[in-house]
């Protein structure tokens, strides 16, 4: 099944959208287009999902607690609300962590104020305060994050003032901070990422000025250690002699966040979820940022080279090339092995705010074609590139998410590089075809011409896509997985990796090649037609004769 765009996407678009009432179809039409990598067309993104549509999207709380703060092991994440929100975010995102044998690790715990009807009527602040006292008494954590769920905002509980009061009240030194991440804010998880970024920036980043040493110091942003991705990347950074001051937030700790402003570079993986922190740290502390993609062996090699160029050290440059050569040799062995079985096959990716872009690299390395892709909660800049940022209309749903006013911190601001160096660096990135500093070119510029780009794909659209294009593998999340597989197409979850991974970095690429090879070549899909289905016509013919 290697069909590529068998029909014109304009007629596909009609076919896809004629299932909707006229008004819905008109709205959806702006989120579906045929890709032109040279001049990416404007796509509608980060807008409300039509009520009643079966959507992939979740809520602001999920983006804040689940995605950004979830992976940090030593902050107690206290969910203020009825029990469900805490329950569903309990260990469900596969954020691995290494706390050693005696480190603090609250990842395996769920904490909730379990609000009851009397709290909804009379307010939940008293219960929240008591919960914080109990947590402090039981666990003595360094920090407690309070996460507001839908009813909290409505009943007027002020989690921020509770946080301040409790910090003052407790004898132990505990950093307590609140997040107004009620589920109804924004239009998807994305608003929650922004709120989480703001909270970390206001309450944690910059608290510890200790210089812990290291020749090349950087932070890795937008990496969440799903399936051990961070562990694999840490391995290569260690080999390179690069110190990861902090990650945001895979395998991270409170202390590392607090110290992260001592780094000299921010490398951004998932632009959507964390670009706010990168920008704010640049303004306040003078840390330049660059976009990297450590998904895919070639993309990883490219990104490590970019980082080496930034640090501008002959030894590091040499070492980077040696390590890339060493790692790619291992990668090549497996790629050569799977390539004959994966080449020419097709894939679709509908996931996340960066993964649908990044994972295209891995498929390309396997000789597979991306027929269609789109994000679940991204914004236009993630599709079209940051050049469109000034033209993005701020609508009512985005306006209510706080934009922090960030100014230079005179005591801590330190230019890491001269203007002249950064200019030369950009020139060299231009030459090598890389993104410049502080830039992200988005998904569309790297997708082939004519491929379909669809934002916030609905269930019905997904079924039509599969019926028409029969991709060899579909990438999305758990809610899509089994519907697609019932249709006889394997689905790779790119949120949870189907409990496999890591997929980042060099060894991650090897794991991904093997997993996709297994999925597209698994016997089970060929067993669907039963023998009697296959032989039935012959039998009938026999009777007729």
């Amino acid at each position: 099944m290697t069909t590529q765009n068998p029909i014109e996407s304009s007629s596909f678009k009609d076919d896809l959208l004629n299932i909707y009432p006229a008004k819905v179809a008109r709205k959806r039409a702006k989120s579906v287009l045929e890709n032109n990598p040279d001049v990416p067309e404007e796509i509608q993104a980060n807008v409300r999902t039509v009520p009643g549509i079966i959507t992939q999207r979740g809520c602001t709380y999920a983006g804040c607690k689940g995605v950004v703060l979830g992976p940090t092991r030593d902050i107690v994440n206290l969910v203020h609300g009825p029990i469900g929100c805490s329950f569903y975010a309990w260990l469900t995102r596969r954020n691995q962590t290494d706390a050693g044998t005696d480190g603090e690790n609250f990842i395996n715990y769920a904490f909730s104020t379990d609000l009851q009807d009397e709290n909804i009527v009379f307010g939940g602040e008293k219960k929240l305060k008591e919960a914080i006292r109990e947590i402090n008494q039981l666990f003595h954590p360094k920090a407690i994050g309070i996460f507001s769920t839908c009813p909290v905002g409505l009943i007027g509980d002020d989690v921020h003032s509770v946080a301040r009061d409790m910090e003052a009240e407790l004898e132990d030194k505990v950093n307590i901070f609140g997040f107004s991440c009620e589920g109804y804010k924004g239009v998807s998880q994305s608003a929650g990422h922004h709120i989480a970024n703001n909270g970390l920036f206001k309450h944690v980043i910059g608290l510890d000025d200790t210089d812990n040493g290291g020749k090349f110091k950087m932070n890795l942003l937008g990496e969440y250690n799903i399936g051990g991705d961070a562990f694999e990347l840490e391995r290569t950074f260690k080999d390179l002699g690069i110190t990861l001051v902090s990650s945001f937030s895979g395998n991270s700790t409170y202390d590392k966040f607090a110290n992260s402003h001592t780094a000299d570079l921010n490398a951004v993986m998932c632009h959507r979820s964390i670009n706010y922190v990168a920008e704010m740290m640049e303004k306040k502390y003078g840390i330049p940022w660059m976009k990297v993609n450590l998904i895919g062996a070639e993309a990883s090699a490219k990104s490590f080279r970019k980082i080496a160029k930034y640090f501008d050290d002959a030894e590091l440059t040499k070492l980077t090339e040696e390590i890339i050569e060493r790692e790619l040799a291992e990668v090549k062995k497996v790629r050569d092995e799977v390539l004959p079985r994966t080449k020419g096959k097709t894939a679709m990716l509908f996931v996340g705010g960066s993964r649908a872009h990044h994972y295209q690299e891995l498929f390309k390395e396997m000789g597979m074609t991306i027929v269609a892709a789109g994000y679940e909660f991204a914004h236009r800049d993630d599709y079209e590139g940051r050049r469109v940022l000034p033209t993005i209309k701020v609508d009512a749903d985005s306006r209510n998410i706080e934009e922090l006013k960030v100014t230079k911190d005179d005591a801590r601001f330190k230019p890491r590089k001269t203007e002249e160096f950064l200019h030369k660096l950009d020139e060299s990135f231009k030459e090598s075809g890389d993104e410049l500093m502080s830039d992200y070119r988005g998904m569309m510029s790297e997708m082939q011409k004519g491929a379909l780009v669809i934002d916030d794909l609905s269930h019905r659209e997904m079924e039509r896509l599969i019926e028409i294009y029969h991709p060899d593998v579909f990438c999305a999340g758990i809610k899509e997985k089994y519907a697609v597989q019932k249709m006889g197409i394997p689905l790779k979850q790119l949120h949870s990796y189907d409990y496999g991974g890591p997929y980042a970095g060099f060894r991650g690429a090897i794991n991904f090649y093997r997993d996709i090879d297994r999925m597209v070549n698994s016997n089970v899909w060929h067993l669907i037609p039963a023998p009697w289905d296959k032989t039935a016509p012959t039998l009938t013919a026999g009777f007729v004769a």
Partner: protein, 455 residues
């Protein structure tokens, strides 16, 4: 240690719940609604609720779980969700064309006070509900009760809004408490053995255990049909399986359609299955079929043969009242010792009922009856076996104690949706699994000189 911060010393808590042994109402409503044929559950609230509920159900069943959402924004939270729900109803019937939409609320729509009944009727007036199609609703504020309450509320609303009083029919209703598709299939198979006509509600068999065929139906072939549900008002009797999950709906059927009912436990284990079978025989006048008698005998035979491996083994359990009560009784019947039991689901009779079966056990339900407390109890008094949902695997590993997965959610194993734990057959499966765990442990732990070939 995975749960390295769990201390042995138990501190009385008033406010914080740690590692809950329950979740919230709407997921139960969504689950119950999936047991109606041709039904699209609809979550009236933020997108996250619907996403989380679909996710946990999908992970538990490894099956597609279809449901829609009102996709609230801040504007809807301020001005009310009426336009969201009306538009949702219109979109759903145009795009997915279900027979019925079952709306449940969330803490958000409950807190702002959306009148869902009125909104649905407005949608009807605006012509958004096609002829012959149904939209029902239930109120499921997440800050009251638990997922079981939500399940019960939806079940209650289904019969309350769809059952029709009519001339008595020679059929019985079986209202299922929260159980697996495999269990509902087994209940139907017991009815078949009796040769009685029954309506089983909800019925998620052939909805959440569908075959791989190369085709996906948003509305699979299973589920109780609308005509069947309507006819429940004409049945001669209702058996409600589970006081927490099913009794409210039985009371509604009685008061609305004068169908008398008996509340029974979910038929887990010998006694609860005996009671179900005996009551079914009594209300239908059909003697207990020989096949079931033989099944019961095989179960007892198996227990007698293997009693030495079960005797006096201590067990810790967590889960839902309707499941825990018959399960604890069954464990006692086969000489295991339920020692620590928690359920996050509130209810005044739980503790009393459990304590009447196991007077010496630690029992708590409702507020702060969570898995953190259970783990602390276990640290104070070790057990030989854990029975509960997947979250127990962290305790199991830390305490090096085998875990029998039972309840909701089971996120890391398959089988629960295919093989029942109700009826005599289900009891055999429970015993088989317990024996497997305890005897594997004996095989693993025995000194080399003590390894037994025959057991």
């Amino acid at each position: 240690m995975l749960l390295r911060h769990t201390s042995t010393e138990v501190m009385e808590r008033q406010a914080v719940t740690i590692n809950p042994a329950k979740t919230c109402q709407p997921v139960g409503a969504m689950y119950a609604a999936l047991g109606i044929h041709g039904c699209l559950p609809h979550s009236h609230g933020s997108q996250g609720c619907c996403s989380y509920h679909r996710t946990v159900l999908t992970r538990h069943f490894k099956e597609p779980v279809m449901a829609a959402t009102s996709s609230f924004t801040e504007g809807s939270a301020v001005f009310g969700g009426q336009s969201n729900l009306v538009q949702a109803i219109s979109t759903i019937f145009t795009v997915y064309n279900p027979d019925i939409v079952a709306v449940h609320t969330t803490c958000l729509s409950e807190t702002i006070g959306d009148d869902v009944k009125q909104i649905i009727s407005a949608a009807g007036d605006e012509g958004k509900i096609p002829e012959g199609k149904k939209v029902i609703y239930t109120n499921t504020p997440s800050y009251v009760g638990s997922h079981i309450t939500g399940y019960s509320n939806m079940l209650n609303s289904i019969v309350g809004q769809l059952a029709v009083k009519g001339p008595r029919k020679d059929q019985v209703n079986v209202l299922c408490g929260w159980m697996e598709p495999s269990d509902m299939r087994e209940i139907k198979s017991i009815l078949k053995e009796f040769h009685v006509k029954g309506v089983v509600l909800p019925d998620v068999s052939d909805v959440l255990d569908t075959p791989l065929t190369g085709k996906h139906d948003i509305f699979p072939k299973g589920g109780t049909t609308l005509p069947e549900i309507a006819s429940m008002g004409s049945s001669k009797h209702t058996l409600a399986l589970g006081q927490w999950g099913a009794e409210a709906a039985a009371i509604t059927l009685d008061s609305k359609c004068k169908v008398p009912f008996t509340t029974l436990q979910i038929p887990i284990g010998i006694e609860a299955t005996d009671n179900f079978v005996a009551e079914l025989s009594r209300v239908t006048g059909v003697p207990v079929p020989e096949s079931l008698k033989a099944e019961r005998g095989r179960l007892l035979d198996m227990i007698a043969d293997m009693n030495q491996y079960l005797y006096n083994k201590k067990v810790a359990l967590w889960g839902d009242p309707d499941t825990l009560i018959p399960l604890v009784k069954f464990l006692r019947d086969i000489n295991l010792v339920p020692t620590h039991i928690v359920s996050g689901t509130p209810g005044p009779t739980f503790k009393e009922t459990i304590s009447s079966i196991v007077p010496l056990a630690n029992v708590k339900n409702g507020a702060q009856a969570d898995m953190f407390l259970l783990h602390q109890w276990i640290k104070n008094e070790k057990v030989d076996l854990l029975i509960g949902n997947t979250y127990g695997k962290y305790i199991a590993r830390d305490e090096d104690t085998p875990l029998l997965r039972h309840g909701f959610p089971i996120l890391d194993r398959v089988g629960h949706s295919y093989f029942p734990s109700v009826g005599y057959k289900g009891a055999m499966r429970i015993v088989e699994k317990i024996l497997g765990l305890l005897m594997d442990r004996q095989d693993r732990d025995a000194p080399e000189s003590k390894v037994e070939l025959t057991m």
